[in-house]
């Protein structure tokens, strides 16, 4: 019967992310950024696989990146997943990326997943909620990480500097099922404007700041196609498409029956009034025209729903350096180790059997050392991840950091709260604190860096 339960999956894997500079580069697109020594994308793919969704479309920005991602996927998931990788040009929005693969979507509903999610939410629940409500859009919300982040980074005042963690402002109805309002923190300056007409219709709306849009959406395919084709102005899913759909929904299902007109009137686009008609006709069986009110009125409405991930579930996105660090830490902190599939040792850390560790070297709890890495004597690794095939000399201290693959760290270095990309060379007694070091960078001996982003010039 084709795609399972009539859902297709689009994974938006992104390309180069400016926010993650200098961690991503041409060689390492965002999708392949290692988290817990595995590419970010693998978490999404495995989540999908666990949910028995094996036919995927992965959209990658940039041809090169697409080739790399595609190569990695075929290598890692050969035979397990059926993945089509589609390349779109760089610097286009997420909605544009979606538009590019629109023609491949054929079934009732589409699940759009951002490639940078690390999560274990049950996708079935989102899909079920979507189907149940016959919603146009179902967005997954998860509790915003800000609270946990704050305690996790107890270290310094560095999160002041990196303030960002955009807060989403989410308006829900009292049953927590319908999405009435959504504004992302980046768009909101100081005040949030909510139309009075909306309040009039829905009576009550709860505004949540503690929820985060997880960039995991289920769309009704027919309406998605129509909206994207009609409104070429929509660039980004989060910033244009979702608010547009949320605005255009008719609130009859949520509140009283005296509805629909105003929602339509308010939409920026006139097409919208006609928009529900066409797609709805295939969904809605004939009797409803004759028998108004026989079926539940919600079936006739254009609704946007939410699925709120339950407390026990983890969901986070790798969309900034800070979250990258957090996720890596969370992962090793043991909470998320099950996502990576590694087994945890008695010391509550993960050390690959092929890793060599010198004498008097301590690898603390909540650490991870990849295969083939060599640690010299008298090193100390705390709350950090060391990638594959790293060479680490003696007397090195790595604290709260992420060291990717093939990194060479010479004797006496001190790395604190930093992210060090692949193929970086740290010469003797380098001292890094809160730095991000781009791939292939060479840090000279005895240098000292604090809160810097270091990377090679983009000439090469």
């Amino acid at each position: 019967m084709g795609p399972i339960m009539k859902f297709q999956v689009v994974v938006l894997a992104g390309g180069m992310s400016k926010k993650l500079f200098p961690l991503v580069s041409k060689d390492v697109p965002k999708a392949l950024l290692p988290v817990g020594n595995r590419p970010v994308l693998s978490y999404v793919l495995e989540l999908l696989e666990a949910n028995n969704l094996k036919d995927l479309i992965v959209v990658v920005a940039g041809e090169d990146a697409a080739v790399r991602v595609g190569g990695w996927i075929t290598e890692a998931y050969d035979g397990r997943l059926h993945v089509e990788v589609a390349a779109v040009s760089e610097d286009i929005g997420t909605a544009d990326a979606l538009r590019a693969v629109l023609h491949r979507l054929v079934v009732d509903d589409v699940l759009v997943v951002s490639g940078d999610i690390v999560s274990d939410v049950p996708l079935g629940a989102i899909a079920a909620a979507h189907r149940r409500k016959r919603a146009v859009l179902t967005a997954m919300l998860c509790s915003s990480p800000s609270a946990s982040t704050a305690e996790a980074i107890s270290s310094t005042g560095k999160d002041k500097a990196k303030k960002p963690s955009p807060i989403d402002i989410v308006g829900l109805d009292t049953s927590h099922q319908h999405l009435l309002f959504l504004a992302s923190g980046t768009q909101v300056d100081k005040d949030v404007k909510i139309r009075r007409s909306l309040i009039r219709v829905v009576d009550q709306m709860e505004i949540h700041m503690d929820l985060m849009d997880a960039h995991l959406y289920a769309f009704n395919r027919a309406i998605l196609q129509e909206v994207l084709e009609l409104c070429q102005g929509i660039k980004s899913i989060k910033q244009d498409l979702v608010p547009y759909l949320v605005r255009s929904q008719s609130f009859g299902a949520i509140a009283s029956g005296d509805t629909q007109t105003e929602a339509v009137g308010k939409t920026p686009n006139k097409d919208d009034s006609g928009q529900p008609q066409t797609p709805m006709q295939d969904i809605v069986p004939l009797p409803q025209h004759i028998l108004p009110g026989v079926l539940h009125p919600a079936s006739l409405e254009l609704t946007c729903c939410v699925y709120i991930a339950s407390e026990g579930k983890y969901c986070s996105r790798v969309n900034s350096i800070q979250t990258y660090g957090d996720i890596n830490r969370d992962q090793v902190a043991g909470e998320l180790v099950f996502l990576t599939g590694y087994t945890v040792s008695n010391q509550n850390n993960v050390i690959h059997p092929t890793a060599e560790i010198g004498s008097k070297t301590t690898v603390g709890p909540q650490c991870m050392v990849g295969d083939g890495s060599k640690l010299g004597d008298k090193c100390s690794v705390k709350k950090s991840i060391v990638g594959r095939h790293c060479r680490i000399g003696s007397n090195v201290k790595i604290i709260n950091s992420v060291v990717m693959n093939h990194v060479t760290v010479e004797d006496g270095c001190l790395i604190q709260g930093s992210v060090i990309c692949s193929n970086v060379h740290l010469q003797e007694r380098a001292n890094l604190k809160d730095c991000q070091v781009g791939a292939g960078y060479i840090i000279t001996a005895n240098s000292e860096h604090k809160a810097e982003a270091l990377s090679k010039r983009e000439k090469s």
């Binding site: 339960m5 009539k6 028995n52 149940r132 069986p285």
Partner: protein, 693 residues
């Protein structure tokens, strides 16, 4: 309700024969005058489907007016107006043994009079009765009816509230369908209930007497079966209450099958409704023991095919375990289940949805078609409610499924598709027990599949099935509703005050239509916790500009005072005229009846069912008990919180109840307005040809 039902059973025509008065002597005997202030009313009366044709003109029902103790205050004016001829009412109002016999013998005397027509099964053809000798018997029977009502009212005042809790010990007889005709001849059950136990009448031996000749072979056999079942039942009198719950199951026997064999078949198709249900006698022992006879097993297997399975009895642990293994959803049984309702599924609410959701994408042989899955989810979360809506949604889902269906290799479409539909139906049942109307629709669909000629190609077969489904929806639901509206609107006059309970889509259409026609009337919407469905109706009516009053069911007796008509929807109408509907309907109907307000049930005929049901226990649906615990917007009401931990508390949230036919003035169907006694006629006449009308 049950108790009064039970009470009248005592006058089973067969029982009447026990008395010492010969039929002949009774015949001419005049009715004895009613002693004033009759103390102990006797449960005397005709069989439940009384042949009286309630006039279609809505005259305030006279029958209730003479009853002395009314459960509800009734305006004196109405009583006066409706006062019936005294002699009719006299004989029956109070009890002395001879009266009782007299009362009962009246019934039998008719029979003797019209022996040739009725044969011996007093109840077997209601239609015949009502048609053939309506003129001669109408008065008398009306009289009978009247007293019956009087008594029942008396009884019901004392017992109706506690009907469930009191758990009347009732002895049930089997009911039988004379299946050939599709008419149900119910041999009334005898039930001795607590209230009635005080009556001398209770002493009457309920054992059925040999019946007279002139019955067809099938009928005789049916009677025999009934008697056998009755005997088994009689043994069980006075056993524990749990047994009664079983015993009360509406019993219908396909006349040719021994009742005892039918146990143990239920798991085959757990809940596909069918017109004939096997007897489950109240005393389990004989049944069980006979069940174990290995000799019978072989023959049982053969018979499985044509015996429709009874409903799943959820107090049978083995079967429940078996059914669980087969179901897609993990279900946790609720703690503290109400004893009397153990035979109904009672699962912890809230556990099903997550387990279903987690299976959403899983490939599983049990996995239903996406559309069916969606509908199941919507049932589970109560996003689709209401008989028609659920039925349409289900049919549309099946339509999708058939559309996507392709016959696997080496299988035939007819069989494979039927099996597929069965598994989908059982999936839907795990989401929420299906309604009778859905059962009828499924039956229809399956007969259509079965009757497909072997020669047609898959494409044609699918096409024709899809057309059939569309036609069913159109004819049986859409057009039927339009017809009902047409009929019902004629009953609404200017100045009327109409009352309705809950939210019925047909009633809503009627009200809106009448309003559009410019009729001037007011609407009283009666609502009940916990679902408060009336609010939705109220909102929509107000949106249209109707004048409405909104109140809760506890104010029913007051709200009824000015009302001129009561319109109610129904989940199903059973062949004894019992209306099975959203809980609270019976209460509203009873109040209306007591106050002489005509009660009109609006129900499409596809919801009719051959089953006979006397109470709300044997077949019902249990809602989430927690819904009763929480009071919306009242956080201070928490006395029931944590009830599941208390061994001594059971919370019961019934979804449906049975309204006896006596409270129903008429049933508005697409075929016209009929008295509840005519339901079997409709069933008989229109089920012959499944749905071409």
């Amino acid at each position: 309700m049950e108790t009064r039902r039970g009470a009248r059973m005592v006058i089973d025509p067969k029982v009447r024969q026990v008395g010492f008065v010969t039929p002949g002597s009774e015949l001419g005997r005049p009715a004895a005058p009613e002693p004033p202030g009759a103390a102990a009313p006797v449960p005397v009366v005709a069989n439940s489907p009384s042949p009286v044709i309630i006039p279609l003109l809505l005259i305030p029902d006279t029958s209730s007016l003479r009853t002395t103790p009314l459960p509800v205050p009734s305006p004196p004016s109405r009583r006066v107006v409706a006062a019936p001829p005294a002699d009719d009412s006299m004989p029956l109002g109070s009890y002395n043994p001879s009266d009782a016999i007299l009362g009962s013998s009246q019934g039998s005397s008719e029979r003797t009079g019209n022996n040739d027509k009725h044969g011996s099964a007093p109840t077997d053809s209601l239609a015949d009765m009502s048609l053939s000798n309506a003129s001669t018997l109408a008065i008398r029977l009306e009289g009978l009816n009247v007293t019956n009502d009087g008594i029942s009212n008396v009884l019901s005042t004392s017992t109706v509230r506690s009907a469930v809790a009191a758990a009347p010990t009732s002895v049930e007889h089997a009911f039988q369908t004379s299946s050939g005709q599709g008419i149900i001849g119910s041999v009334p059950a005898v039930s001795v209930d607590m209230a009635a136990a005080a009556n001398p009448q209770a002493g009457i031996d309920p054992r059925p007497m040999p019946l007279k000749d002139r019955t067809s072979k099938a009928e005789r056999r049916a009677i025999q079966e009934a008697q056998r079942a009755a005997k088994a039942a009689a043994k069980g009198v006075g056993t524990d209450i749990a047994a009664i719950a079983d015993g009360n199951v509406a019993n219908e026997v396909k006349s040719s099958k021994p009742s005892s064999q039918k146990k143990g078949l239920s798991e085959k198709k757990p809940a596909v409704f069918s017109d004939k249900k096997p007897v489950v006698s109240s005393d389990k022992k004989p049944v069980v023991s006979s069940d174990k006879k290995s000799a019978e097993k072989a023959s049982e297997k053969d018979k499985r095919k044509d015996i429709p399975a009874p409903r799943m009895q959820f107090d049978d642990e083995q079967r429940v375990a078996k059914a669980k293994r087969r179901s897609l959803i993990e279900q946790t049984e609720a703690k503290n289940r109400v004893e009397l309702f153990r035979h109904l599924p009672q699962f912890l609410h809230g556990t099903q949805l997550p387990s279903l959701e987690s299976k959403f994408f899983h490939e599983d042989p049990l996995h239903p078609h996406p559309s069916v899955f969606q509908v199941g989810l919507q049932y589970l979360t109560r996003e689709i409610v209401g008989g028609n809506a659920r039925c349409i949604a289900m049919l549309m889902a099946f339509r999708d499924m058939i559309n996507d269906y392709s016959t696997p290799m080496e299988k035939t479409l007819v069989r494979d598709l039927t099996a597929k539909i069965n598994s989908h139906v059982s999936f839907l049942i795990t989401c929420r027990p299906i309604s009778i109307s859905m059962g009828n629709a499924i039956k229809f669909l399956k007969t259509r599949i079965a009757s497909l000629p072997v020669t047609v190609s898959e494409f044609e077969a699918k096409h024709s099935l899809i057309l059939e489904i569309d036609r069913f929806i159109q004819e049986k639901i859409v057009f039927a509703d339009n017809e009902i509206v047409k009929h019902a609107v004629t009953k609404i006059r200017d100045g009327d005050v109409l009352l309705t309970h809950g939210s019925s889509c047909v009633v809503e259409m009627i009200l809106v239509r009448a309003f559009e026609l410019g009729k001037k009337f007011q609407v009283v919407v009666i609502d009940s916790r916990p679902r408060l469905e009336g609010k939705g109706l109220l909102r929509r009516l107000l949106g249209k500009g109707l004048h409405c009053t909104y109140t809760h069911i506890n104010a029913a007796s007051y709200a009824m005072q000015g009302v001129t008509r009561v319109f109610l929807g129904a989940a199903s109408v059973l062949s004894n005229g019992t209306v099975y509907s959203r809980v609270g309907t019976a209460c509203v109907a009873m109040v209306a009846h007591a106050l002489g307000v005509p009660v009109m049930i609006c129900c499409e005929t596809y919801k009719f069912h051959e089953r006979v049901q006397l109470d709300s226990i044997c077949s019902n649906e249990l809602g989430d008990p927690d819904a009763l615990v929480e009071v919306h917007g009242r956080k201070d009401v928490y006395s029931l919180r944590g009830w599941a931990d208390s061994k001594h508390l059971h919370v019961l949230n019934l979804m449906y109840d049975a309204t006896p036919a006596d409270y129903v003035s008429m049933i508005i169907t697409e075929l016209g307005m009929v008295p509840p006694t005519s339901v079997p006629v409709i069933l008989r006449e229109y089920r012959k040809v499944p749905y071409v009308m």
